[in-house]
């Protein structure tokens, strides 16, 4: 008897998503939805999207979903969770959203220990607007607003959000993962499970940072973008669990 051993998660819409070929974004959405399906949470969850490529989720994610002002998902999610504690509230944010324009919202939600799960996609640039410098852009990396490469004198250094949040007392789960191959994807899925479990257990703020890619704005093929993550991104953004209480 033939059995389906790997299926498209039920939490996704049926249509093709708006992300570029090879982009990890939809793969991350797939992981989150598959975990929610495993935990039977599809009917009681809300995804709070930031602005940028992440807003493409509106034609991809199949659960209740909010678009929010740029950088504000953590503030919005904190309010939803407090008004509707039985709802599982997750945010989905890019690096410009979470670490630049929304840094205060991110830090303060984490510092309050709001019981939400944050999924942070770090691809070292602003994807939707054409690949400008982000807080996470690597040293020397050329972007459309660092045409001569990021340098410390003008632009400072890449921000490490897991490490930054790890200085706070309240957060309960912080991990950095990537999706470059099957073993890493399995680890990433475990991290998503942990984050959701922490919320289910009422432990407070959890965040999973995905070291992700941007083949289009990096000017690389999907395959080359994976190699770039291995060679350049991972030395700057080490993977691992930073906190698990």
């Amino acid at each position: 008897m033939e059995e389906k051993i790997y299926k498209r998660p039920a939490g996704l819409q049926d249509n093709i998503n708006g992300y570029c070929p090879g982009c990890f974004h939809p793969g991350i959405g797939k992981l989150i939805m598959s975990v929610m399906e495993e935990f039977d949470l599809l009917e009681r969850s809300v995804m709070v999207d930031g602005i940028g490529c992440v807003a493409s989720n509106m034609s991809y994610i199949g659960i209740d979903e909010l678009n929010t002002p740029h950088g504000r998902p953590c503030a919005v999610a904190s309010a939803i969770k407090r008004c509707s504690p039985e709802t599982i509230v997750v945010t989905y944010q890019g690096d410009g959203d979470l670490a630049s324009i929304g840094l205060a919202e991110t830090m303060m939600a984490a510092n309050r220990g709001d019981n939400i799960s944050v999924f942070f996609v770090n691809n070292a640039n602003y994807g939707m607007t054409g690949g400008q410098m982000a807080p996470t852009t690597l040293m020397g990396m050329k972007t459309s607003t660092t045409p001569y490469g990021r340098n410390a004198q003008e632009h400072g250094y890449p921000m490490h959000m897991c490490e930054v949040l790890n200085t706070l007392t309240a957060p309960s789960y912080l991990a950095r993962v990537t999706l470059i191959d099957v073993p890493h994807i399995k680890k990433a899925r475990e991290a998503v499970k942990q984050a959701i479990q922490h919320q289910l257990d009422g432990k407070g703020f959890s965040m999973v940072e995905f070291v992700s890619n941007c083949p289009t704005n990096w000017g690389l093929t999907p395959q080359e973008s994976i190699q770039f993550i291995k060679d350049k991104m991972l030395p700057e953004f080490p993977l691992g669990e930073f906190r698990n209480r």
Binding site: E2, E3, K4, I5, Y6, K7, R8, P9, L12, I16, N17, Y19, C20, P21, G22, C23, F24, H25, P26, G27, K30, L179, D181, V182, I185, K186, P222, Q223, I226
Partner: protein, 67 residues
């Protein structure tokens, strides 16, 4: 007997699936989908062992695996 189904409507032709397949089951033809992507197809379905690595890698959740 294992097999995969690649949804041509959802595939964008990144070919992460083809790269990861240990049995070199997947490739492309001249066919393109409605979005203009040269989508992946199981060129050698008879070699599939149902490891599901292609489906795990696929960012667009376009692959389902049967065993």
């Amino acid at each position: 007997m294992a097999r995969i189904e690649i949804n041509p409507k959802l595939c964008k032709g990144c070919l992460y699936c083809a790269d990861v397949c240990p049995k070199k089951v997947i490739g492309v033809t001249d066919a393109v989908n409605a979005k203009g992507f040269q989508y992946a197809v199981p060129l050698h379905p008879e070699n599939c062992v149902g490891c599901a690595m292609c489906a795990i890698m696929c960012p667009d959740a376009a692959i389902e695996v049967y065993k």
